[in-house]
Symmetry: C2
């Protein structure tokens, strides 16, 4: 019996493999094989099938396909926000590599909300994403450890894989790939650079105890001071988040209260540096003539500000995350922990103190 194509309400008519088979006068198995191209096939049949496919504008139904065997391969990335340069760059790396490896890229944003993160992870798990990449700054407390372990196991149970990008690793028994970056080393280099120029009173902006990325940078800052025999001064370590407005606020508040007790500023990211610079300028302090400034990230604002900063391999992190997530998939063994390098980019925002 000939099965007729069903017309749906809106007049849409998706063609099925059956119709193609009928039109070509072969079985569905043959069509499937010819399209997959992994079986011996007679040129004549092949032609007939291809012609039918063209004619019907046939596209295989992914859902049916996934169900039957060939699982759809996609990689998911979950970030705070697409418009933050750092996340955008990592996402670009993930997207590029995913495409290169023949995978589709799903993207979800959380706005920094742990509940939405959880929901997203669930969603991606339902979608059977091959890997779920979580990126970003986070409070690394016990609650975090527990939540991530749960994600990792839950995903592993569904045949997927958790990747932490720029987040602290979990235990060795937890099945999660970790891709990090030597933040501490970068901060050490940045601070050392200022010290070499003769600075000793270096303000650091963006301290946020408990948050991994901030902590790592702070550690590098302290290490550099120690290495050069300079005592650290807690008064010079200002707390704030990683946003432009915060950089502005931190400097502004300090200058307005008359604390002009530093000759250089190390901002924990370029956005903070941009805000800080604006506040400095408003107080008639030039960069680098009056105050030296070093940032972190080397993202768009840096170039316009002529900012000496620490370059991070943002895109490379994304690419690496995908690469290892998929590679590791096939092998067994302990999940890898990769650490990428950073390097200082010297522009024109540092000079010697007067």
């Amino acid at each position: 019996m000939v099965r007729r194509a069903k017309k749906s309400a809106d007049g849409t008519r998706k063609s099925t493999i059956r119709e193609v088979a009928e039109l070509a006068g072969v079985s569905t198995a043959t069509v499937s094989r010819i399209l997959a191209g992994n079986y011996p096939e007679a040129p004549v049949t092949r032609d007939r099938v291809m012609r039918a496919v063209k004619e019907l504008d046939y596209v295989a139904n992914v859902h049916a396909r996934s169900l039957a065997g060939t699982p759809t391969t996609s990689v998911a990335i979950i970030i705070n926000s697409v418009i933050s340069p750092h996340y955008a760059h990592v996402a670009q790396g993930v997207q590029t590599q995913a495409t290169a490896e023949g995978r589709l890229c799903l993207i979800g944003t959380t706005g920094g909300d742990a509940a939405r993160e959880l929901a997203m992870v669930q969603l991606m798990r339902e979608q059977h994403a091959e890997a779920v990449i979580l990126v970003g700054n986070v409070l690394a407390d016990a609650e975090y450890q527990a939540r991530m372990s749960q994600y990792a196991h839950s995903l592993a149970a569904a045949g997927s894989r958790l990747v932490l990008c720029g987040r602290p690793p979990l235990g060795p028994d937890v099945p999660a790939v970790v891709v990090g970056c030597d933040y501490t080393g970068g901060a050490f280099a940045a601070t050392s650079h200022l010290i070499s120029a003769g600075h000793e009173r270096i303000l650091c902006l963006g301290r946020r105890p408990g948050y991994t990325t901030a902590d790592a940078r702070h550690a590098g800052y302290r290490d550099a001071l120690t290495a050069h025999g300079i005592a650290h001064d807690a008064q010079l370590e200002v707390e704030g988040t990683f946003e432009r407005e915060e950089g502005y606020r931190m400097i502004k508040e300090r200058l307005e209260s008359g604390q002009r007790d530093f000759t250089a500023v190390f901002a924990f990211n370029d956005l903070i540096a941009a805000g800080a610079r604006q506040a400095l300028l408003e107080h008639h302090l030039g960069v680098p003539d009056d105050v030296s400034l070093v940032g972190f990230d080397d993202l768009p604002p840096a170039l316009d500000l002529n900012l000496t900063t620490v370059q991070l391999p943002h895109q490379e992190m994304g690419r690496t995350a995908v690469r290892f997530a998929l590679e590791h998939e096939t092998q067994g063994g302990a999940p890898p922990h990769i650490v990428l390098d950073t390097h200082l980019v010297i522009r024109d925002s540092v000079s010697s103190p007067r």
Copy 2:
């Protein structure tokens, strides 16, 4: 007969609705209904089922579900690159709205390559995305018209919908939603602002005949000159793409060849403005003291440069695209064409000519 859960190679064990049903001592139909919650259900049964679901950490298989009825709902966005601020903002809007409407967001990048765009559209079509949103600058020639029409029909045939975001509309018979922005009006306002300040020799940067976004801005520029009775001078209209380096190049080449024949610059986007500004500074021309500068987009660099610019509703465009794509889905009628407004943001990069 009791079917046992299959163990896959890596020890993974996804639980099926069958197992849940067995554990709860009911049929799969009941489990499905209780989870969907759209049917009468006895509290006792409900409890048993929910307990079983919890115990097995059961998550329904999307593919099976889509195949059987409830189609998975996702929205796809295809852009040049995630790291370009404009695209990132639109993508953020799409992501936000998609999530708000309970949809997943797929993302693909093309790098500006038409072939990859085609491949992406195919891919999204296979994925049964409810809507495919194409955003960005494009050469609006006949080939474009043909390609887009093909996309639109192909997607419509698959029950999906094409959305053009910041791209020129196709014919009225082509099933594509168009979300645009009043680029011409914005450019008119920007140019008028310069003219009001007393400028008559206004350089415009980023001309690119045939490319829609550039053309629209150019039209606004010309209109403003005409409206104020100033004759346009083709010598003042410089060709270039929408990148920072190009802005730098355009000004640099001009100044190095001694053509210091303008008092103001209208850059077709903020990146161009950033590059232009750098070149101006290198030639010891201050902004706005020596040369006035207006940009377009109001994206991150603008704030740091204190740039007067035209604000575009980037995120709103993304949100609107999703909203109309999904809304229109249910109704019939001609596909909508929405045009959003722009407005001038005045900062400190314009002054009167000396």
